[in-house]
Each structure stands twice: as C-alpha cells, then as structure tokens.
C-alpha cells in the first residue's frame, strides 16, 4: 500500500509492504503525526511552539520534551560541524527544520514498527528510511538522483533497515546557508549519507553540504555513515563500504 501527501512542506511517500489491511490505519497515523509536527515546529506558523519560543513567549522550562530534544540535536550538529550547520542564522528566526524533518520521519518509522509493520519505505522530500526487504533476499534499491538530471540516477544504494539522505541545491534559490558565513556554500553539487537513522543521515548531509569542499573529508570521517559526494567538477567521492546495488 502506497500513499503520497504533501506535509511539512514536503511530498511524503509511505510504501508499506506488510500488514495487509492494518497498513491503511497505520499510514493514517504516520501522516497525522507529521501534520502535528508541522503545527508545532514550523518556523512559518506564527502560533507554533518554535515561533512562540523564538519570540520569547515561552521560556526554556516551558518547552515540550520533543522540542528540547530537537534543539539539543541542533546544538550537537552545530558543534560537530564547527558552526556550518545552524538553526540560528544571525538576523533570522529560529529554524530547526534541518533536524525536525529527519527526527519526525524517524519517529514516523517507529510508529509503523510499533504496529507490527516491518516492511516499508518512507520517502520525505528525497530523504529515505527503509525497513525489511520488499522481496525475500532483496534490499530496497534507493536511486541517488543525478544532480543535473531529474530523470536519471547516478548510483543505486541498497538499504534494508537504514536511512539515506541527500542534500543538494538542484534549482536556484539557495535554502542551505553556511552558518559560518551566512552565505550559500560552493563547491559541491550533492551530498548523500547512508546511516542507521535519518537524524544522523540528514543532519550530516546538510552540514557537509553547507561546509563545501571541506565537508567531503569531514563527513567521510563521521562514524557509522557511508557517503557519496559529487563536487562541482562532477567528480564522485564514495565511501568504499557504501552498499551499491
């Protein structure tokens, strides 16, 4: 059973291959959770918890455990990336979206597992979580989008019980900025990270993309992840242990 909805500003596809008639109800729960996250954590909704905290209407002691967890993850990746990754660009409103997406979709995956559904693939705006195998003995085949051709892939990664995230700017209108300079990064076309969970994969991919060229060696040295980075010279840099199909 496969369903696509636009939520959190993203096209989200949920493809569940187990559970039979249970799947529809569980997928309802996934989209319900993602809509709840959007209402609570969107930096674009004036009455969200994030905006109220940013305006000083909530003190840190009044924040939900969920938002505290998200903010501590933001701080962790900001430190790890030397400030290239940040939820607090100077002169802008608090924007923890780069972590919220991976965190919320990872929790959505745990909702499916809690319902006993263990064969699925969730794709949220190009960030992927897989569980189980779509056919016995075969992992999910995750195509990595070619950075210059929307209709082609440049590699296929195998995944069963993990996450694959890609950070890139295929169209003009940069939304990823280097937190150290406040400017759009240069030097990379796309960064793909495969890891056990989507918070790690998505945050590391975003941070490495924001760092530019130096992000290649940085992300490759992070424990528990395999990378595929394409630089502006169209050179591909790939971890030897990345599971290619």
């Amino acid at each position: 059973m496969n369903r696509v909805e636009q939520v959190m500003g993203l096209p989200v596809s949920v493809d569940v291959r187990s559970g039979g008639g249970l799947a529809g109800h569980a997928i309802d729960g996934v989209f319900g959770w993602l809509r709840e996250v959007d209402a609570r954590f969107s930096p674009f909704k004036a009455d969200s918890e994030v905006c109220r905290y940013d305006r000083g209407e909530l003190s840190p002691s009044e924040l939900s455990d969920d938002l505290l967890e998200v903010l501590s993850l933001c701080d962790h990746y900001e430190r790890l990336s030397g400030g290239a990754f940040t939820a607090r660009l100077p002169g802008r409103r608090l924007d923890p979206n780069a972590v919220v997406k991976g965190w919320a979709v990872q929790r959505a995956a745990s909702l499916l597992l809690a319902e006993g559904l263990d064969v699925f693939c969730i794709n949220a705006g190009g960030d992927v979580i897989t569980s189980g195998e779509p056919e016995p003995g075969r992992a999910w085949r995750v195509g990595i989008r070619h950075p210059e051709r929307p209709d082609a892939v440049c590699a296929v990664v195998e995944s069963s019980g993990g996450a694959v995230a890609t950070s890139a700017e295929y169209e003009r209108g940069a939304h990823i900025l280097d937190g150290r300079t406040g400017r759009p990064p240069a030097g990379l076309l796309s960064v793909t990270v495969a890891a056990d969970d989507l918070v790690t994969a998505d945050s590391l991919a975003t941070a490495a993309f924001a760092m530019g060229i130096e992000g290649i060696a940085w992300v490759a040295s992070q424990p528990g992840c395999q990378v595929l980075v394409i630089d502006a010279e169209r050179q591909v840099h790939r971890s030897p242990r990345l599971r290619l199909a």
């Binding site: 496969n2 696509v4 636009q6 500003g9 993203l10 096209p11 596809s13 493809d15 693939c121 794709n123 705006g125 190009g126 960030d127 992927v128 779509p134 999910w140 085949r141 995750v142 195509g143 990595i144 989008r145 070619h146 950075p147 051709r149 929307p150 209709d151 082609a152 892939v153 440049c154 296929v156 990664v157 694959v164 995230a165 890609t166 950070s167 890139a168 700017e169 295929y170 169209e171 939304h175 796309s190 793909t192 290649i216 060696a217 490759a220 040295s221 992070q222 424990p223 990378v227 980075v229 394409i230 169209r234 050179q235 591909v236 840099h237 790939r238 971890s239 030897p240 242990r241 199909a245």
Partner: protein
Amino acid sequence: MKKTIVAATVALSAAGFLGVWLYEPGPLGSETVAVAAPAPSSSSADGGASEGAERTLDGSVESNRYGTVQVRLVISAEDKISEVRLLQRPTSGRGVDAIPILQEETLTAQSADIDTVSGATSTSESYVKSLQAALDAR
C-alpha cells in the same frame, strides 16, 4: 614496482590524512586507540600477503609537536587504501579513530530498476518532475 607504489601511497596518504586531521591542533599528549585485531597483516610492504584479500599495513610511531601518531592502513583487495585507522593519536584534536579513503569516480547517469529516489525534492514543483513521482504513480 608495486611495492614502491604502495609505500609511496602510504606516505602520501598518511601525510594528507594528518593534514586534514590536525585541522584542530591541540596541546601535547597522546593516547592509544583500541582497534580490533587486524586481519592477517603485513607489517611491511613486502609482507607477502596474498592478492585478492583485504590486508593492513602499520606505519611507524611518529611524534611531533601535536603528540604521537601511529597509523594503520587498510588496503582493499583491489590494492587501494580503503581506510586509515589511528592506533595512537593525540588526546586532543579531531575525535576520530579512522577515516575512510574515498573512491573517486566520474559522474555518470543511469536509469536503473529502483524502488525509491534519494535527492533534495522538497517542493511540489521539483517533485512533479521527479523520478519519485513516476515511481509513486506506478
């Protein structure tokens, strides 16, 4: 000839790696890093390890103003360095014990049999044009 190439690559890789790693220099001091026992290893370039298997190669212990460093290279079956592990490293600086050596390839396009697509597809405009939309419509 191959031995010379491997030895030269070892030296270059270790130098390049330390350049990256010593990005955050710190005070003196060092620690030994726990590393799983190596696969049958050649401690020198002429160790006679058979081709077709991953093997390891340990460097000498080097001390400089940053501390003491000893590296172990993991060499793939294709005779390429796939990872640099730190057997000893300074107590400060980057908190990594190993760094993989990335494989370099030229970007190519393919249309393969896939279940899903990873790529930054965050707007409905980019989604409509994406391979993922075509897959969802199947």
